[in-house]
Symmetry: C2
Subunit: 459 residues, 2 copies
């Protein structure tokens, strides 16, 4: 794979050196000689990854990283800090500024390419999601996330290891690791079973694991659809770089070297958790905004579009499993008079109250939607004829019992007429349209018959 790499260093020879290495491997390179320029390029040129020198005049690498990670336009871009000395204090400061990784000068080719490939691949996997989300936000269909919307209180981390990573980690109460629940698991098969249904926020795999091939485990986690983007952090011994390179190639997100520094571990784990939560937030808010398209703006229950997509499915399922299904149309009686007497706002309140009542009064499998104007449709799957009639009668009574606030200190009530069609599960000729048509005919008879009643079509 290739990627667009932004190289930032105040010394031109350093920039040239990294640029040459990267270009020889056919990466695209853009360069900046300082923090401000780097931020500007990151905003306008969409690099896939940023290699950022720590020691620079003006704003240094830490400050640049912090600014990049605070900006919604750039915070998804992985940042690798390049430090002159492999100093613990630098690493901690960098991780606290939000850096995703480190390279030590002189930069080793293998480490460089592995990091660049790995981090840019992860970014590219979520680019599409980020673009759709940005589009939704641009339209106002999605709210732009604030950092605090994305963060969660507790992170669940599973450690796969035969030996303790840090003594007493499970009971650690140091503030560094607060809010992260660590648990050990040394049965890899049990873990693979578990993550099918119950994903933690992150998994740490000890590459010194003896009971199971740790690389195989990483590959299994990474290639399962549910855990494809799950943060995976390797724990390696100093002498085990070959296995580590393979682990990064498989798609491990990050690693820690033994002996493990608790501060570095805390920072790296937090970086991964932030990234995961960010992606989940994008996904969830995109889903919510898709759902807006099938929700009725006034009542908050589903709209006609949703009914049109779901009724055919429910009917197909009923035919396939030979189970009954009823469809009822509820129409508010004398709704025009409500609007005329109390005004449109109170009329809207009537519709909202009914929507609310339907939402809470029906079973999870039932479907209630606002069909338009003062009409609602309810679909009852897997419900026998008598049961459907009982439910319809109950809804009619519950609606008649609603006390609507007239706005002048008074309250009033409304009634509905309900027409219902029943499908016994046997005919193959039934269609969504035929069901709705028969329910509508029954509704007409309910209205003709004096309103405030349920008419179920004749068997």
């Amino acid at each position: 794979m290739t990627a667009r790499v932004l190289v930032v260093d105040d010394l031109a020879p350093n920039v040239k050196l990294l640029e040459a290495k990267l270009r020889a491997e056919y990466f695209e390179v853009i360069t900046a000689l300082g923090g401000r320029e780097a931020i500007e390029l990151a905003r306008t040129q969409s690099p896939d990854i940023i290699l950022l020198d720590v020691m620079m005049p003006g704003i240094d690498g830490f400050e640049t990283c912090k600014l990049l990670k605070e900006d919604p336009l750039t915070r998804h871009i992985p940042v690798v800090m390049v430090t002159a000395l492999d100093q613990r204090s630098d690493r901690i400061a960098g991780l606290e500024a939000g850096a995703d990784d480190f390279l030590t000068k002189p930069v080793q080719d293998l480490a460089l390419f592995a990091r660049v490939r790995n981090l840019s691949r992860l970014k590219q996997m979520t680019d599409e999601l980020r673009h759709r989300h940005a589009q939704g936000a641009q339209l106002g269909a999605i709210e732009t996330p604030k950092i605090e919307d994305v963060e969660r209180e507790i992170g669940e981390v599973i450690i796969i290891s035969d030996r303790p990573v840090i003594e007493g980690l499970e009971n650690d109460s140091e503030s560094l690791l607060s809010g992260i629940n660590f648990s050990y698991q040394n049965d890899s098969r049990e873990l693979l079973d578990r993550i099918r249904t119950d994903l933690p926020d992150m998994i740490m795999v000890d590459l010194g694991l003896e009971s199971y091939d740790p690389l195989r485990l990483c590959s299994a986690i990474r290639s399962a659809e549910g855990s494809r983007l799950l943060p995976l952090l390797a724990i390696a011994d100093q002498e085990d770089t070959r296995r580590l390179v393979k682990a990064l190639d498989i798609g491990v997100n990050d690693y820690l070297m033994r002996p493990i520094d608790v501060q570095e571990m805390a920072a790296r784990v937090r970086t991964q958790l932030r990234r995961k939560w960010y992606v989940e937030h994008l996904r969830d808010s995109l889903s919510q905004s898709l759902e807006l398209a099938v929700l009725d703006g006034l009542t908050g229950i589903y709209n006609r579009r949703f009914l049109q997509s779901q009724l055919p499915r429910l009917l197909t399922k009923a035919v396939k499993r030979e189970l009954p299904l009823s469809v009822m149309i509820l129409d508010v009686d004398f709704f025009k008079a409500v609007n005329d007497t109390y005004g449109h706002d109170v009329g809207d309140a009537v519709l909202r109250e009914i929507g609310h009542m339907l939402h809470f009064s029906l079973r999870g499998m039932d479907l209630a939607c606002r069909y338009g104007g003062e009409e609602f449709v309810v679909v009852l799957p897997e419900t026998p004829r008598e049961g459907s009639e009982v439910i319809a009668e109950r809804l009619r009574k519950e609606i008649a019992g609603l006390q609507i606030d007239a706005g002048n200190g008074q309250s009033f009530s409304v009634t509905v007429s309900i027409g219902m069609a029943f499908f016994d599960g046997t005919s193959r000729e039934e269609t969504p349209a035929s069901l709705l048509k028969r329910a509508d005919e029954a509704l007409y008879r309910a209205k003709e018959g004096g309103r405030n009643r349920v008419i179920l079509e004749a068997a």
Copy 2:
């Protein structure tokens, strides 16, 4: 990277051999001994790629591939056909069945891993998009695409080469290549400039290119954000496999070996075009469904949610550039009487006609939305005070001139009252809420003053 590979062959030793090779490189492997089983596993186990033997009893590889590519649940999964002999007829049949690539037995490791990595990476890049789309389709917010929705009539293909690929290709009228417009470009820099603004459907790069490093060109195309997923097909000479492997590693989607067989070329180009159009279709329909969330269901113009997201932006821009901005609220006069006299359907038609008129009568930079009930809001950016008044007056007259069908063969007309607030671009205290409030006050005076008029707040 890793991937979940489905290996399909009726001979267990063949399955074992491929499985061992792939597992040694830490790919996850699932296996099937026949076409039916393969289809079932593809539907339930979501593999990233399928290695499919051609010669099998029951349904053979071609038929299996065809069925996989016809099924909406599996058609995005790349299929590599494994053939015993490198026969042209097999390749053509496979490509026509929709196969993405071929491997010849005995399978070479290098070719195997390159293909698996390359094809599964491309799939994984669009998985997120596919999942969001599927979710939207499940909700009924997006229609499930039919093959014919995705296909287009013309594919634009640019060939980067110093020499002809196939003689007379530009003027080819063979049915094999019909619907594909090929054009040559031998200036690589010109191409890179062009694709920033005007993307073709596909680019073919001759790896024998002498005027520019062809691998560098592939990398530049692949790492630019706009062309990241653009189909890229390499043209290689038989002796140039090393360069080809590198090209595949960079992210070239497919390749053709010289001398080029026109039938194979047509099939490979079509496979790539189909994949591109499929992804674009997913993206477009996802965008459309996001847009549904900010459109008013009745009138089809923007809704209040959209106004709430855009008005702050427009105001910020006006402040920054010191340009004026006006906001008007339009309210239909005696709307209740319309509903009472002609019924709700005709009332709805009034709102639709007004929405339609606003949509077509305003400039592209203006914003019109249904604010709720019979109220509309129009925002006019960069418009001086007098100009805004002229536009408001014009809208008032145009609405008064609309002939609304009363449904009984008669027609009638309605009027609107308009209240308008003006921001001159200089104050920093102005807010969206203060603008709307002042427009609402002006509207109140328009109503009090006798309706059917425009009131612009005092300067």
